[in-house]
Amino acid sequence: MNTGKTEPIERSEIIERLSEILEPWVSDIDSIEKIGEHTNLITDLGLDSIGVLQVILGAEKEFGISIDEQELESETFSLMGNLVGIIESKLYENN
């Protein structure tokens, strides 16, 4: 689903939609139920390099945004809350 850039989306909804994107790429299946702002995508969910690429691709399509991989680093990408922040900034950057 492609969402218009100006339509406000709750952070909790972004997390919910991201969780669906993340699901296939998470090594610890049980952990997917517990995803929240403080979930670490790398240490808690075991996301690997291929998983990161797929999640970026998935988020771009889901939210109709463009994320530059070069802007990302493990420190900022790893927390779910930070990834939500990146998505919010892309969604509203033209407002």
Binding site: E20, I21, E23, P24, W25, V26, S27, D28, I29, I42, G46, L47, D48, S49, I50, G51, V52, L53, Q54, L57, G58, K61, E62, D68, E69, Q70, E71, L72, E73, S74, E75, F77, S78
Partner: protein
């Protein structure tokens, strides 16, 4: 000479040199050697000796490298696995390789418990460095060790692409590995005191040979990372740690070539970046050499079965024609042959055959497959290539169906076998689809039966993820009424590859 001797010599020559940096934790060669001896003693007490197979199921870490050399020190055979694999994949390989001891972490052991029945058969050792710098070793399960008398000379067993039922496991001896690395090291001309960044998983044969064995033997410093690869992390690490060398697979090279603001970081310490795992596009190679003229970008070609490096574009990588993977290393003989095994002239495309002292002992418990793969001492690589008149080798394709995604070889049959375990799927076929970053991605064509009428793509991904590593999960899935066949049963993979162009992304 054995693998452990590489470490012993470095530890004796440079005991105070830092061997490994893992975030804020540093381990000198002297301390690393002590830890290896401690773990080797525990392995020996658990029954490890020549002919006993010991698996490592850890992420990239200090503990992985200590375990790797400890197994050799205890006389056992290293079965290189990874915590990046799913527990069911690890359990399957533990069974398949006849592993008696598994070295892992507490966290991974918990996940592995549902897939692997250790009762009385497998000893499980949990290893972790404590904050005080002491290696903690805990036995979580104990079992009796099996000795494989016929393969006591095998130092490393490396799983490679294969089907679920019969994963292929390459057996390499100390002599095969060390003779190959000695020539590789000499040709690369690494200076002294390198700081080496490990972006690849430690169980990858390219990482084992081109990084672990090579740089431990040079008493160099490893910077270990178990996080996904981010180009910005890499650039920061080059600047902070003064990195001099690394080994990339093509998608990492593409991210480095695309890196928009390298001037923000001081990358001048970087001297060697080897490129392997799959062919790096010529345009990317040109961009890299133009953008980072002080770095030697070295194309190399290898495979587990060859133990592992075959050719290398070094020294003076810029003198090798773009697109070539260099010339065969001294001691490695290469032929290009047609389907009948007849040698082809220069510039003609055919299958690459290799003969060298590094070629594997064979596939574990697959004598027929070994006999088909090594014929009269020549390894049939399954890769298509050509030689030019100067002796440079070019990789032009594959005779096998293997998909190379992000530098990892994936056997489509393994994914197909997992898919048809689903009660709603009657047939499945997997092919590679071109992807700019990963080279190829797996894409699945599925014929659903009456029980699978309502199957969605998400259902199938959910089913796959419990069985397969993330790089094996099909990126795209298409439901089709039937699969194109050649004759009565063989899947027409070329027809599927053509159809692959119209697939819909899972993420859409």
């Amino acid at each position: 000479m054995r693998i452990i001797d590489l470490l012993t010599r470095s530890a004796a020559a440079r005991p105070k040199t830092t061997a490994i940096v893992d975030r804020d934790f540093k381990l000198s060669y002297g301390r690393m050697f002590e830890a290896v001896e401690t773990l080797a003693a525990r392995l020996t007490a658990a029954g490890c000796k020549s002919g006993v197979r010991v698996a490592i199921a850890l992420g990239n870490s200090v503990e992985y490298l200590v375990s790797f050399f400890a197994i050799s020190a205890a006389g056992g055979t290293i079965v290189g696995l990874s915590a990046r694999m799913t527990p069911s994949e690890v359990a399957r390989l533990v069974e398949r390789a006849g592993v008696s001891i598994v070295i892992t972490s507490k966290a991974y052991a918990k996940r592995l418990a549902d897939s692997l029945d250790t009762a009385g058969r497998v000893t499980m050792l949990l290893v972790q460095y404590e904050s005080g710098g002491k290696l903690d070793i805990e036995a979580a399960a104990t079992g009796r060790c099996n000795i494989d008398e016929r393969n006591c000379d095998v130092a490393l067993m490396a799983p490679t692409s294969g089907t679920t039922g019969r994963p292929k496991i390459v057996m390499l001896t100390d002599n095969q590995l060390i003779s190959n690395l000695a020539v590789y090291r000499l040709l690369m001309g690494f200076g002294s005191r390198n700081v080496v960044y490990c972006a690849l998983s430690f169980h990858h044969i390219y990482c084992i040979c081109a990084q672990i064995l090579t740089h431990i033997s040079l008493a160099d410093t490893f910077v270990v990372s178990d996080t996904p690869f981010f180009i910005k992390d890499f650039a920061k690490s080059v600047e902070r740690r003064r990195l001099t060398a690394t080994a990339f697979v093509p998608y990492m090279a593409i991210l480095l070539a695309d890196f928009a603001e390298p001037q923000q970081f001081d990358l001048r310490s970087l001297k060697y970046v080897t490129l392997s795992g799959a062919r790096t596009p010529v345009s990317i190679y040109r961009t890299l050499t133009h953008k980072y003229p002080w770095v030697n970008f070295v194309n190399t070609y290898g495979m587990s079965e060859a133990g592992s490096r075959i050719s290398i574009a070094c020294p003076f990588p810029s003198r090798f024609p773009p697109g070539s993977v260099g010339s065969p290393m001294p001691g490695v003989n290469v032929r290009i042959v047609d389907d009948e095994g007849t040698d082809l002239p220069f510039e003609h495309r055919g299958q690459i055959l290799v003969k060298s002292s590094g070629v594997m002992k064979g596939y574990y418990q697959q004598a027929d497959l070994t006999a088909q793969t090594i014929v009269d001492g020549w390894l049939r690589t399954g890769d298509l290539g050509k030689l030019d008149e100067k002796g440079n080798l070019y990789i032009l394709g594959r005779t096998k169906d293997v998909i190379i995604t992000g530098g990892e070889n994936v056997c489509p049959q393994e994914i197909e076998e997992s898919l048809i375990e689903h009660p709603g799927i009657s047939e499945a076929a997997v092919v590679g689809q071109k992807d700019r970053l990963l080279g190829e991605v797996p894409i699945a064509f599925i014929v659903a039966n009456s029980r699978g009428e309502k199957l969605s793509q998400a259902d199938i991904v959910r089913f796959c993820k419990a069985r397969l590593s993330s790089h094996k999960i099909p990126r795209f899935i298409r439901f089709v009424p039937k699969l194109p066949k050649l004759g009565s049963s063989k899947i027409d993979r070329n027809a599927l590859r053509k159809m692959a162009g119209n697939s819909h992304s899972l993420m859409s």
